[in-house]
Each structure stands twice: as structure tokens, then as C-alpha cells.
Symmetry: C2
Subunit: 154 residues, 2 copies
């Protein structure tokens, strides 16, 4: 852990809020060196997924020409929401350091804490219904995938 | 629920696997009309976040010029992972319909089920450490945000 990167993530969050984005910033680092930065671009890019951690993960993927960010760490101005924590797992980032938490985000009007509660509640009690459609073709894409020889697994 | 859209999501997943992407597809619909489609572009775009649901959410945001997809429903070839379910909440999509599930995805070599277990495990038991850094400036971006008058809240 290096406090410089937390300070940078907080600075990015402030710059973002000042310039019309959301008040969140994130930095991805490897071996003490900056790989990529990101800020919350949800309202600017009309992209509900454009949280700071995700924009940083995308930028890091472009910078390193790989989706696999093993060996990196992420510093975020605020605790990652479930979407961003999921993305951190998929990107194989090694550790997460964050400053503000989900309660601070809730106090500022953001839904992070609500969404964490929804995850904990289990499918049947959630606000958004999840409907498992029993389709005989459901597994066909996976069968095709398993049989494919020149695929890039991840 | 309209089985046509589930069939389309499965078809997209198969086309994606055949053309070098991941075996996942998703479709966003409103009032019976197609808004956007997406496939898994993780390995093609070097973007760990580019699951089918997220690429569809991004495309829908571009198509409708808003991050707020209220009133839409999403059809996915496979149960959304925690990242995608989080994105669905942030996008305010009204309902989720999916064909294959996390166990089918696990059988095809994907980590969805593992990540769901990690979420359920709670921070202390997780594979990726989450470190809450106590920084006196942690809440500064939110203070700035609360005081800002011309912001776009979400």
C-alpha cells in the first residue's frame, strides 16, 4: 500500500466532480508504477457501467494489451460497488485499496449500499426480477465453446 | 417475457464464440422493440469488463443518449455475473431473463460461480484483499459533490 496512490485517486475524484463527472477516481498500479487512471464518466458518456474502477480497468487493458491485469493493484477514492468488485475479479487485480466507503457514498446520494443489500438479499427478494428461462438451446453456445480449438480462454 | 429475445441472445452468443469472442450474448428491449445488442468482447477488446450485458448496456446508452435504461428489459444467454448484475442495477433495467445459469458457465470454464461465492463469503474471507485506507481527505470529493449546484445526479 502506498498512500500516494490513494491521494491521487481522491484528487482524480475531485477533478472529475469539478469538471461535470461523478465524484470518483481510481488508479491501477504495478510494481510501484502507474498503469492507468479512471474517473466516473456515467453521465458524461451515457454509460451506466463507466465507474472510475471500470474506466481504469479498460484503460489498463488498452495500455497493457491484455484483459489480464494480474500483478496490479487498484486504488479507489471509494469502496468498489458490486459491479466494480466483480470487474476487479474478472481482471485478476491482486488487491484493492479504498478511501471512502459505501456509507459515505450513500450519504452523498449514491446507490452502492442499496445494491450491496440487494446482492445479500438473494434473488427472490430483489427489486429487479431474475427470470431463468428454460430454453432447450441454452447450453448450445457453451458446447460450441468447449469444442472450439483455437479459442482464447479466460 | 418474449422467447424471441432469448433465442436472439443465444444466437448472438453462438456467433460470438464462432468469431473469436466469448460465448455470451445479450439483448436490451423496450416495449417489444430492440434497443441494443451485445456480445462478450473481453479477449477481443482487451477489456475484462466487456461482458455481453455490459456491451449491450453501453450500446443502449449510446442509442438512447442516456445512462438511465428504466423501462427496458435485458435478455441474456447466461445468468448475469455479479459485475453484470451490478451494472443492470445501475442502469435501472426493469427485469432480467436468462437461459443458461452460473453452473453451466462454470462447466464451460468460466468463473461466474466462483465470483458469486466470493461475494457471499464476505470481505475477510475473500481471495482479493480489500483494504480500507483511513485518509483524512477521503470524503472531500463527496463534500464537493454535495455543494455543487449544476451536477447531474444519478
Amino acid at each position: 500500500m502506498d498512500n500516494r496512490w490513494i491521494a491521487r485517486a481522491i484528487q482524480l475524484a475531485e477533478e472529475s466532480a469539478r469538471s461535470g463527472g461523478g465524484p470518483f477516481g481510481a488508479v491501477i498500479v504495478r510494481d510501484g508504477k502507474l498503469i492507468a487512471e479512471g474517473v466516473n464518466e456515467v453521465t458524461i458518456a451515457n454509460d451506466a457501467s463507466a465507474h472510475a474502477e471500470i474506466t481504469a480497468i479498460r484503460a489498463a487493458g488498452r495500455a497493457l494489451s491484455t484483459f489480464d491485469l494480474s500483478g496490479t493493484e487498484i486504488y479507489a477514492s471509494c469502496e468498489p460497488c458490486p459491479m466494480c468488485l466483480g470487474a476487479i475479479y474478472w481482471a485478476r487485480i491482486g488487491a484493492v485499496h479504498y478511501a471512502a466507503d459505501r456509507h459515505d457514498a450513500a450519504n452523498a446520494g449514491f446507490a452502492d449500499e442499496f445494491i450491496y443489500r440487494e446482492f445479500a438479499a438473494g434473488p427472490a427478494l430483489r427489486k429487479i426480477p431474475l427470470n431463468h428461462v428454460l430454453d432447450p438451446d441454452a447450453r448450445r453456445p457453451f458446447t460450441l465453446w468447449r469444442l472450439k480449438e483455437d479459442k482464447t480462454p479466460y
